[in-house]
Symmetry: D2
Subunit: 357 residues, 4 copies
């Protein structure tokens, strides 16, 4: 009910605040017998961690995951797998000047109103720091999908501000996204985008962007009819990531402009389709084609410029951006998008096992 749990069969529950002792996650429902590679968990956390490049926040967190339960001799045992990630560099003092001030387009006001109490040291539970826990869990989901079905998930930055990659994912080497600090799958565009973000950063401003994600080798049959359609669960997963304002899959918003005679994906005799406007999902169920979708991120709300705001009594106050924040969230959000994708697919992979007797 309180919204800290995601998934039904492969279920995660996260906990922890940005300026508390630690954050963490319980994975409940991972089948026994999975090989758990902790290096891979750490590797994904490193892709998300702050301070990794000049275009990310300089907050220093090693984000070292400790495993507390659920494995024995390197394998999952069918019991809850728990990761703990201690908070190290909270610098709560950066927030002292903000006591009582509601930062614009943050969750300060809504949390205060909803709960009547608020940890003013950063975003608390609303901080994107919580997503580190998702990345740790998502790494296990990725291993699961790889080991049971060979599924591969790759996300990359496809837009920063108005700069948009004009190639489709098929024209790109997706793995190359890891070769640049932006995680854009086109090296040239990456360079231009990085320069642009750096300018934005120097101006004390922030900018939005889009991430594209592709899942390959997904077997036919994942997704449940009606409410838990595969793309509905992917959409919810993406929209639950901080700063996300939009989700589209397959033809997406452009599909609204098309005619049925253009949009229909005709079958080949092996049940593959000639086109893939459906984005690999028909009737909410995977059809064996590539699954792909876009996720839109708004600009980070914390800017290094003065802003007029109000305190909790409604008095006008001036807010001065301090602390260490990301000029653009997308480079660090790539592993988060992948993690949430993996969690949705793992969940539906398990759920699908009971479709037929």
């Amino acid at each position: 009910m309180a919204g800290n749990t995601f998934g039904q069969a492969f279920k995660i529950s996260t906990f922890g605040e940005s300026h508390g002792v630690a954050i963490g996650v319980i994975i409940d429902g991972c089948p026994a017998g999975l090989n758990i590679d902790l290096n891979q968990v750490q590797s994904d956390l490193d892709r998300r961690k702050p301070g990794q490049s000049k275009i990310t926040t300089q907050r220093k967190e090693s984000d070292t995951a400790q495993i507390l339960s659920g494995t024995f001799e390197g394998k999952s045992t069918g019991t809850p797998i728990t990761f703990l990630i201690p908070n190290e560099d909270q610098r709560s003092k950066d927030y002292d000047h903000n006591v009582g001030a509601f930062r614009p387009s943050h969750a300060d006001y809504t949390y205060q109103a909803k709960y009547g109490i608020r940890d003013h040291r950063g975003g608390g539970r609303s901080s994107a720091r919580e997503t580190a826990a998702r990345v740790a869990a998502g790494a296990v989901a990725k291993m699961f999908l790889k080991q049971v079905a060979g599924i591969e998930i790759n996300a990359y930055v496809s837009r920063v501000g108005k700069m948009k990659l004009d190639k489709t994912y098929q024209e790109l080497d997706l793995a190359s996204a890891e070769n640049n600090i932006l995680r854009c799958a086109d090296p040239e565009m990456a360079e231009q985008m990085i320069q642009y973000i750096d300018q934005v950063r120097k101006a004390g401003d922030t900018v939005g962007g889009v991430i594209t994600c592709v899942a390959k080798k997904v077997p036919v049959g994942l997704g449940e009819p009606v409410f838990d359609k595969l793309h509905a669960d992917l959409g919810k997963a993406m929209l639950s990531i901080n700063a996300v304002h939009g989700f589209e899959y397959g033809s997406g918003f452009d599909g609204a402009s098309m005619l049925g005679s253009e949009h229909n994906d005709l079958f080949e005799t092996d049940f593959s389709t000639k086109t893939n406007y459906s984005g690999g999902i028909q009737g909410g169920i995977s059809n064996g084609q590539d699954i792909f979708f876009n996720v839109a991120f708004k600009p980070v709300a914390t800017i290094m410029q003065g802003q007029a705001t109000v305190d909790k009594d409604g008095n006008a106050v001036e807010l001065h951006g301090k602390g260490r924040h990301d000029p653009c969230v997308v480079p660090r959000a790539v592993p988060i998008v992948e993690a949430m994708t993996a969690l949705v697919l793992a969940d539906h992979w398990l759920r699908n096992k009971n479709s037929k007797i």
Copy 2:
């Protein structure tokens, strides 16, 4: 697990197939003491029902909802409220020629693969007919929101194919959408769009569109942090509607192009905001401003043109569109979008009651 249930506190479960005896819905969790107006339920069903105008399918269904349980002397009793909507005009024969043929961009292939069995008489469970059950339940959710909090929900068609309404919702009289058969809140654009759909229909083709939805007077505090953010649940709700390929709220995909200094919604001293790029939701929680979002629908897959496809053994067959289908889904989808919005808000309204002691 099987995906036929939506919501946690105000929860619905739908049942039934397009060519079976009936479809229906159980609402579980509606508090006792609500005045239930069955005319309002029927009125929303009439807005969704087939055959209502020249730009909808000519299938004839009265879609008369019978109430089976959950009320006493006109009020909800706190027990499950059940609606039954008998199927009347199935004309299963329209589908006889399709036995074994997989209709492109329908759920025929994925259902067959997932379940190993398929009711070939229309879409079965994957048919949009299921959404009538949602509309009946949504009508109760609307009454609930109106009676407990005065919340108002209005959806309207804002795009058909490439024809896009260029006014924001603030510039429109939302109630006027009901004055035309398209449910577009701009009478002039409505006329042009209707003519366009009629052309598409005559060509045996179909076209996509976009619906915009606005919820006003939503109190501060609805939505749960982390996974069940209000917009994440709205997004899932919309993406679970047949043919939806995209969802964006507030600034949406355009927000990805903006700078933080432009996008931040500065507070007034009454905690309202000067702008509303946040779409009425901050940190996943309603902030008291209008909630608004767009929902993209792909073109209906059934077209009245010959299409090459395959049967379940992979043999190439020719498919001839028959039956009675919608050239564009958006006019009938307006009440569905409203219904799902109401269900999400009712659910979160109840969930929010336990935020504070």
Copy 3:
């Protein structure tokens, strides 16, 4: 949240009140491909229905189940299976004299207090009539268990008032329980118990009893550790049946008197156990031995004698038993106990499929 749903993977939701239009049930999660025998559903309903013998209520209900969805050509399709059971012989007038009076040890007072509104025509939602819906769903669960794993479930009356069957289930022919109107697996005891119930009935009184249930051929592995232990879910299932006040499995309450050296079930080399004080469940997980348990029912609260009570304003009033009620609930409760057992086992059978990769 509102408690009308049971199960996670094989999930049922019931609806309807004793004096409304109909009661019914949705089964969500039954895998596709199951052969559904509607005669078997009706046969179990007939075992539960009123008016079947002199020791049950004379209320007349045919309890004919209509199937509304979820099957195609005699097989389940993986979509929700819905049964509707119309109410026929409500005789609401029998309750007219009770308007405002709270019947002792019924749910009248607690429902009025909880909901602020109450259907005074009989128990409404609290009536045991709701269990007919469970029996219909349980019949499908039984078919499922039989078809996938050969599991057999048999319940029988083992006690009425102070008259207690002193044989264990191993000493009895469980199938013989259906040969007498009490459903006691010992013909001689059955005769004596029936006579006793008849006396109680003539005195306008009621009496309690115990039902024993045995599940054979349950495979090893059903049940989840910690909270959803198999016996914990069985216990909840039984305690959710009207009038149940106790549940014990295996050695039960007598086990509290035993020493560990007596109680431990030593293994044979085929992993069966020499004794079965564990009742077929160890660590919450089935171990392949017979599962057996006892369910205690209090006497029916409606008696045909005058009782002093109060109305909703707290005024003392005299209540005269009218209507048609059961002198002892156990004969009709036998199929209910079996149904709930089948639902728990079907649920855990599905859940267990994801224990290992």
Copy 4:
């Protein structure tokens, strides 16, 4: 699905194994604004911890709970509250001789069969050590119930082996149970029972017992009709505790012997009842009277005697009890029973808030 979560509105998820790094619990759904007294959490843990007296296991664990999240300045914030309890004195070597041997009436065999992998160092996830996490969470639930409704919960030992307390809870000073190491609310019986357990211990054996629990000042209205009746959830909660084989509330199994005319609880004009065979619950909903129930525990399976058993290949092996174990589980189970009771009541207290508009 995997059974490590309990509750819906006030929900806990536990993790950890007996011989891993730590165990712990997340509480999700505790409303904001609750005063959290960590001393009270520790105090309840101390009542459960091993080594507390001569009649408990001598395993040494300080069972010190660390709080990781969910509070700010001593109050709950509405975010997940997490407790971590490190394992200190695992002495895994005590189990080395058991590698491959299935201990009788433990979960060794069923876990091995279900998961195909098993941590042989003690019970792993099946160990009663997991209940420490429940006690920590239950302490918060107790605080909640006390602060919002003044509810008081007291459990005590009412039976050890065949020695049975013959007084009802009304005749006892429940608080006095904490004055003796057995937690029996009758000092004289306590002394005799302690001596008996000591004898049993010296003989290398174990013995079962019964705990009675009483909840006072529970408001009218807790519990949901049909499946989530208050006593059904209490029953499940108790049956989920290690070694529990039976649950009865109010008149319990004795109620099966009674006549309706004896058993019915007649109302006073203030809606209290003259008798309380209903155990404070009618129609599954609390009626304002005391709630009371009994919980039967089988003897601990680990005995300090040689036992014949089999290894995982089915070879006969001799097992020698080693390690440090409880001769009787009930003294340490008293706080566990209270904790689970508190969790059920807190959950239903929150759920009940949405019964009426």
